[in-house]
Symmetry: C2
Subunit: 110 residues, 2 copies
DNA sequence: TCCATTTACTCTGTTTTGCAGAGTTTATAA
DNA sequence: TTATAAACTCTGCAAAACAGAGTAAATGGA
């Protein structure tokens, strides 16, 4: 059985990684607002992504309020792409209607 | 933010739906063996998929040991395809290397 | 016939995970 | 100097996942 990256297979972390990939560097506050999540929860999930090197932080202070900028790493993007690919391979018919090569035609209930 | 089907965004259920899509009708025991999962846990997740009509059961008895055959529904396959599509849209660069139209080039840390 | 076995559950308890909010620190702006 | 904001940390609760024991129904073999 194809394995799915447990770190990415979680709603908030999937959204975090995808959002960072699309939006580039974001502050803690930006992420909190955009994903509508409590700061405790955001912090916990960011820590897991940091520990896996899927995300990096850059901390600024001195020229305004202290700010932490979070950014996706190449490792993180690669992991996300591998994750989506793994899901596609699990599915016998790809979402665009084409058949994945390794699977048979799905048989469905009525 | 694009939403992800919470029912599918869980490792075991994702695997269950994908496996049923590829392998067709499967017994409870088959699923237990293939996915290497405890029967209590398998039962719990199958119930959720049944409740959402992503899966159906057909029960046989009288001509052998009682057997329950589980099968993916059209609803279930459609949900899975929509789920994978949603993930692809979240990602700024699709896994095959092509850019998704709505997103900008991802900016990454070093 | 009855005993063991298999299937497919149900139930219970434990562990893990997710999550919210209160409190803390540092720093700035008023 | 006080108030406010950012970015945490910590604590506790709630929900989810999970394993395994127990159970009913049915069969197959002795």
């Amino acid at each position: 059985m194809e394995e799915l990256d447990a770190l990415l297979h979680q709603p908030l972390r999937t959204q975090l990684v995808a959002f960072l990939a699309g939006a580039g560097e974001q502050t803690f506050s930006d992420l909190k607002r955009q994903l509508e999540v409590s700061d405790g929860n955001l912090d916990a999930h960011l820590k897991k992504l940091l520990a896996a090197d899927y995300v990096t932080v850059r901390k600024e202070s001195g020229n305004g309020r202290p700010q932490s900028y979070y950014m996706l790493t190449g490792t993180g993007l690669a992991a996300m792409q591998a994750y989506v690919l793994a899901l596609q391979r699990l599915l016998p018919i790809s979402p665009n209607g084409e058949h994945a090569p390794v699977f048979i035609e799905p048989r469905l209930a009525d």
